[in-house]
C-alpha cells in the first residue's frame, strides 16, 4: 500500500489549484504546463485534479511534464474506471488515484483556483 503523501503547504509557498473537468485544447494544456514550469521558480505549489472527461488527459505527456515540474496530479478514480482507463497497462501514468473529497480539499487549500471546464 502506498503511503499517504504529505499535503501540508511549505511555509511561505503559495498554492494554485487547477481543475480539469473536460477535454481541453492544446493551447490550454500548454498553458497549464507553462504555469507549472513558472511555478517551480516562483515557489508556487500546483495541484492538478482531473475529473469527468478531463481524466483522458492522464495519458497526455504534458501531465507527466507538469508532475516533473513539481505539480501534484490527482484524478477521480471513479471517472477513470467508468471510461475504461484502468484497463490500460500504463494506468495511472504516474498520477494519483483520488476522489471528489480530495478535490474539495484542493479548493479549500488553494490560494487561487482555476476551473478548466
Amino acid at each position: 500500500m502506498r503511503a499517504a503523501r504529505d499535503d501540508r503547504k511549505r511555509p511561505g509557498a503559495r498554492r494554485l489549484g487547477v481543475l480539469i473537468l473536460s477535454r481541453q485544447s492544446d493551447a490550454v494544456l500548454e498553458t497549464v504546463c507553462g504555469l507549472c514550469r513558472a511555478a517551480r521558480v516562483k515557489d508556487v505549489e500546483v495541484q492538478i485534479f482531473l475529473t469527468g472527461d478531463g481524466v483522458h488527459h492522464l495519458r497526455d505527456p504534458r501531465m507527466a511534464s507538469a508532475a516533473k515540474d513539481g505539480a501534484r496530479v490527482r484524478f477521480c478514480a471513479l471517472n477513470a474506471v467508468e471510461r475504461g482507463l484502468d484497463l490500460d497497462p500504463n494506468y495511472p501514468w504516474g498520477a494519483e488515484e483520488s476522489s471528489q473529497y480530495e478535490l474539495a480539499c484542493i479548493v479549500e487549500g488553494s490560494d487561487r483556483f482555476l476551473a478548466l471546464t
Binding site: 503559495r14 473536460s22 485544447s25 490550454v28 513558472a38 479548493v107 483556483f113
Partner: protein, 243 residues
C-alpha cells in the same frame, strides 16, 4: 484553529440534457460540500432546464437531477436565474430553490474566492485543440493572436477578478462583464492561438498569453505575456474566472 471557509460558487450555464459536463459539475458540487457546506450552486441560462419535469431523457440529465436533489437535501443553497426561468416552461420548482435576478448573481459570484464556471459551449470552428488556427479578424483588430493588448481597470477596495478566456466567449461572459463593471476590478487574459473572437464590447481590456518564446512577444503597444507573468497575474487577483 479552523481556517475560514471560502465562498465557493459553482455556476452552470449549459443544459444538463445536452451537455454531460453539467452532471459532472453537479457531482463535483456535491463533493465540494464535504469540506464546505456553503457551496453555492447557480443555474443560469439553459441550466434551468434541469428543473423541468422530464422522464428518463438521457442518463446525463437524470444524473444531474439526482445530484441536484441530494444537494438540496444537504441544505446547500441553490439559486436559479430569474431571467432564465422566463424562457422555459413547465418547471418543478422546489421551494428550497432561490430565485435571484441576474445582476444579483453576478455581484455575488464576483465576490467568491473560488468559482467553477460551466458555460454553454460555443463551437470554436474546429480551432480548439489545434495550435494552428486561422487568424481571427476581431482578435487581430484588438491586438494580434500571438501578441496582445492590455488594460487593467478598476478601483481600490473592489474584488480583483482575472478572466481567463480559453475559447470563444459566450453571451454569459459579456453579461457577467457588464454586470460587474462597477463592482470589481478586472483584467482579461486571452490564450494565444485559441483565437476567440473579441470585440469592443469587452471594455477594451485584453491580454494575450504570448508563450515563453521572445519571438512571440510584440514590439508594439500591445503586450503579450509569458507563463510567469500569467502566474503573477493569477496571484495578483482575488479570483480567476475561466471561460
Amino acid at each position: 484553529m479552523v481556517a475560514a471557509r471560502k465562498t465557493v460558487a459553482v455556476v452552470i450555464g449549459c443544459s444538463p440534457w445536452e451537455d454531460h459536463r453539467a452532471s459532472e459539475a453537479m457531482r463535483m458540487a456535491l463533493g465540494l460540500t464535504l469540506r464546505n457546506p456553503e457551496v453555492h450552486l447557480f443555474l443560469l441560462e439553459r441550466a434551468v432546464t434541469g428543473l423541468e419535469r422530464r422522464q428518463a431523457e438521457g442518463a446525463s440529465g437524470a444524473d444531474f437531477v439526482r445530484h441536484l436533489i441530494s444537494f438540496l437535501e444537504l441544505g446547500c443553497p441553490v439559486i436559479v436565474e430569474e431571467e432564465a426561468l422566463n424562457t422555459v416552461a413547465g418547471f418543478a420548482l422546489d421551494n428550497r430553490i432561490q430565485i435571484w435576478r441576474r445582476d444579483a448573481i453576478v455581484r455575488f459570484v464576483s465576490r467568491c474566492q473560488a468559482v467553477v464556471l460551466l458555460r454553454h459551449r460555443i463551437s470554436d470552428g474546429g480551432r480548439a485543440g489545434s495550435s494552428k488556427g486561422k487568424r481571427d479578424p476581431d482578435a487581430v483588430a484588438a491586438g494580434d493572436e500571438e501578441n496582445g493588448g492590455c488594460q487593467i481597470h478598476g478601483e481600490d477596495g473592489l474584488p480583483r477578478i482575472l478572466d481567463l478566456l480559453l475559447r470563444t466567449p459566450s453571451d454569459l461572459f459579456r453579461i457577467v462583464l457588464r454586470g460587474r463593471a462597477k463592482d470589481s476590478s478586472s483584467a482579461t487574459v486571452v490564450l494565444n492561438r485559441s483565437g476567440p473572437a473579441l470585440g469592443a464590447q469587452l471594455h477594451g481590456f485584453l491580454l494575450h498569453s504570448g508563450g515563453e518564446d521572445p519571438a512571440l512577444r510584440p514590439a508594439d503597444a500591445h503586450r503579450g505575456i509569458g507563463h510567469g507573468e500569467l502566474l503573477d497575474l493569477i496571484f495578483e487577483h482575488d479570483t480567476v474566472f475561466c471561460w
